[in-house]
Amino acid sequence: MAPILIVGSGPAGMSAAIALARRGVRPVVVSDAPHAGGQGFRRLNPQMALDARRIYGAEARKYEALHRDFEAILPQIDYRPATLVWAIYEGKAFILRDGQAGEIAWSGLILAPGATDRIMPVAGWTRPGVFSLGAAQIALKDQGAFIGRKVVFAGSSPLLLLAALQYRTHGARDIAVLDTTPLGAKLRAAPGLRHSPGTALRGLRLMRALKRLGVPVHQGVRLEAIEGADRVSAIRFTAPSGQECRIACDAVALGHGLRAETQLAELADCDFAFDAALRQWLPVADADGRAGERLYLAGDGACIGGADAAIAGGALSAEALLAELGEPGPSARRRRLRGTVARLRRFQRGLAGAFRWPHEEAGRLADTVTVCRCEMVTAGEIRTAVRADLGPAEVNRVKAVTRCGMGRCQGRFCGPALAEITAEASQSPIDAVGRLRAQAPVKPLPLSAADTRS
């Protein structure tokens, strides 16, 4: 019989694999990452002598336990790192490993592809020296490096605080946080955070630690521009008081929350629904993560929920899949996991109010600002296309006319802003402008791969 296939080796994928291995099942685990851990629990480069406690703080023990458990089951699973699933078609995953193309058939599929940064463009955001928030953390965890000497963490995300603290504790002195969500919005969202008081508390501790270390945290700012000649030299913003401010810096880490990676779910034929709280399209799945016959979604790729939800969701999807395959485990465990995932996702929806996606900024973007980095399409070109006679108010058609989202990243970075600008220019609600259709390959595929088919 074909194996159970897990795509992704972040907390959700690892946890699903651990759950299956403990039940005596040998899954195939495929991930395009060279090491397990995902982004949140990214494995620290052993050659860099990085201290997990300094990077992961209170989460260090969880990080170590997850990696330890995963390493313990390695002999019991078929783990294939650095392997890209570039398409899913008729019950098979099409993979690329070491430049070689191949296929994997499955008896059950668990998709745990994680999330990437969601970015609201700002004038100058394509300047050298601007990184996504995730990339700023990868530089530290993978290379023991900072993205600059004077780094500003800007956007709207609890990860701004975490990344700033990680940088600060590793010796970065000249850093600042610019958070676009006002304090008032955070207070209003506070009731929603009761679903995970521990996580909320961690957030408060982060704030306090940054304050103690003298890292300026500005809340409720409006980002105006990232300035510079060849590369970043400053970031300009408006303070809640209305005052125009400028911080000199040589790097900016930009992030406005997370965007679920959903291409594989779409290629696997999942239905999608618009999540108004997270303001993004998500694949439809039940409380166990079941999205189709022997098809499960877990982790941030299913719905933004954070690492704890991913760990619980990964195990839950494994248990539910085994039950569907006729090998049910203890129902109490599944109930408990289901409760954990639901509770943490409710928390995350509350968090989405505390760290708002500043969608209205799309309407303020100057026409000259680049929205699609791959194809160099500006906000003005998108607006012109939408407002033209017979101009489309649907993102796939806007993409067809402007090329926005047609490049190497396939709209994974410009997609959210494209949707907001299209909605604003066409005076349509955001859920009426559709979502970019996913197409293979999920990531660029070298032509030479076709010569290596066995």
Binding site: A87, Y89, A101, L390, R408, P441, P444, L447, A449, D451
Partner: protein, 386 residues
């Protein structure tokens, strides 16, 4: 709700509907286009973009040449760009069987008045040094061109609108008939329409409209596997094609190489899409690498297909209905509708305005299906069950 009345109703806002509307509106006739989704979103907007003259069905040359003349001036006439580019077209033969096809196609093309240049191996290597030396011979036709399908239909439809044509999107036809006095077309969202003439330009859905007038045709929908590479330095000037059709490619000035090839895949017409089987993408990639080895290091960034209407004899249905006066068909273009679309639009406008046309299109009459139709020899080769 009172019915809206128009001179000509066109069902289908693809390229054929757009050109028909443009010609009629330009002649001062009242015309309304009903599009079930968005203008140019189906095969008109998702095709490869070839305006190929070489190797067409011999019966189609008068129509093709009339169409090409319109393409050549369309940007000047509309004042908009659809990235029309007179790139020329190169047919490549890599084996003996393809060599025979190459010569046969060249002969047909020349007899239709097309200038076709023969290139042997050394001539090919000198002129296109990036092509594989295993290619035996090629033919080049310089009048062939390319355009951007994503832009073309919108451009023509806007021009039609500027001349007064009505264009309704998200307007799906649910029933069409003739009352004895006029056509009556019921839509899902916009009520009833009445007209003197009706044009069926519904592409892959054209069979459903024809069936409303008791004209059954064996139309089915399919789409070719297509993909595009990341942008690369712009060196490939003409549009290129293995004569067998297994690999067709061109490079746009922006640098991306666009690739298509047979066999095609059956569409999921309900969900308005054709899924490209990944193994066909890999076949296309291998096939492209074989013709242009320098591209082996390139990356494929996007795969797509379209929903195209096909008929077993691999020629479209163009011309008056066999059952209903005033009804005209222009659909089922079998994957080569992009090039002929302006010609089809001009012919349909001729027929509506004067009852006749100087461009011979009898071979494409729908009545051929009453006698039964032989499948084209290309049929088995260009489709598969996968």
């Amino acid at each position: 709700m009172t019915a809206r009345t128009t001179g000509t109703l066109i069902v289908g806002g693809g390229l054929i509907g757009a050109f028909t509307a443009w010609f009629l509106a330009r002649a001062g006739r009242s015309v309304t286009v009903l599009e079930k989704g968005l203008v140019g979103a189906q095969s008109s907007g998702a095709n490869f973009g070839n305006l190929r003259l070489q190797g067409r069905d011999p019966r189609q040359y008068p129509l093709s040449l009339r169409a090409q003349a319109i393409w050549e001036e369309i940007e000047a006439l509309t004042g908009e760009s659809c990235e029309y580019d007179r790139t020329g077209h190169l047919y490549l033969a890599r084996d003996e069987e393809e060599l025979a096809s190459l010569h046969r196609y060249a002969e047909i093309s020349r007899s239709a008045g097309l200038v076709v240049e023969d290139l042997d191996g050394p001539a090919l290597a000198a002129r296109f040094p990036y092509l594989d030396r295993g290619i035996l011979a090629a033919t080049f036709s310089k009048r062939d061109a390319t355009a951007n399908p994503r832009l073309a239909t919108l451009m023509v439809m806007r021009a039609a609108r500027a001349h007064g044509a009505g264009v309704l999107e998200h307007c799906e036809v649910v029933a069409a008939g003739h009352s004895g006095a006029a056509f009556e077309v019921e839509t899902r969202s916009h009520g009833l329409f009445r007209s003197e003439h009706l044009v069926n330009a519904a592409g892959a859905w054209g069979g459903e409209i024809a069936a409303q007038f008791a004209e059954e045709v064996p139309l089915f929908s399919a789409g070719p596997p297509q993909f595009v590479t990341e942008p690369l330095p712009h060196v490939i000037a003409p549009s290129m094609q293995r004569v067998s059709g297994t690999v067709i490619f061109r490079q746009i000035p922006r640098g991306n190489v666009i690739v298509a090839g047979y066999p095609r895949t059956a569409s999921d017409a309900q969900n308005l899409r054709t899924r490209v089987p990944p193994h066909k993408t890999l076949d296309g990639m291998a096939g492209l690498g074989l013709l242009a080895p320098m591209l082996r290091t390139a990356h494929v960034i996007r795969v797509w297909s379209g929903v195209e209407g096909y008929l077993p004899d691999m020629i479209p249905i163009i011309g008056p209905s066999g059952t209903q006066d005033g009804l005209f068909h222009g659909f089922g273009c079998c994957g080569h509708g992009f090039q002929i679309a302006p010609g089809v639009g001009a012919v349909l406008a001729d027929l509506i305005a004067t009852g006749r046309t100087d461009t011979p299109v009898e071979a494409f009459h729908i009545a051929r299906y009453r006698e039964g139709v032989q499948a084209n020899e290309k049929f088995a080769r260009e489709f598969d069950s996968r």
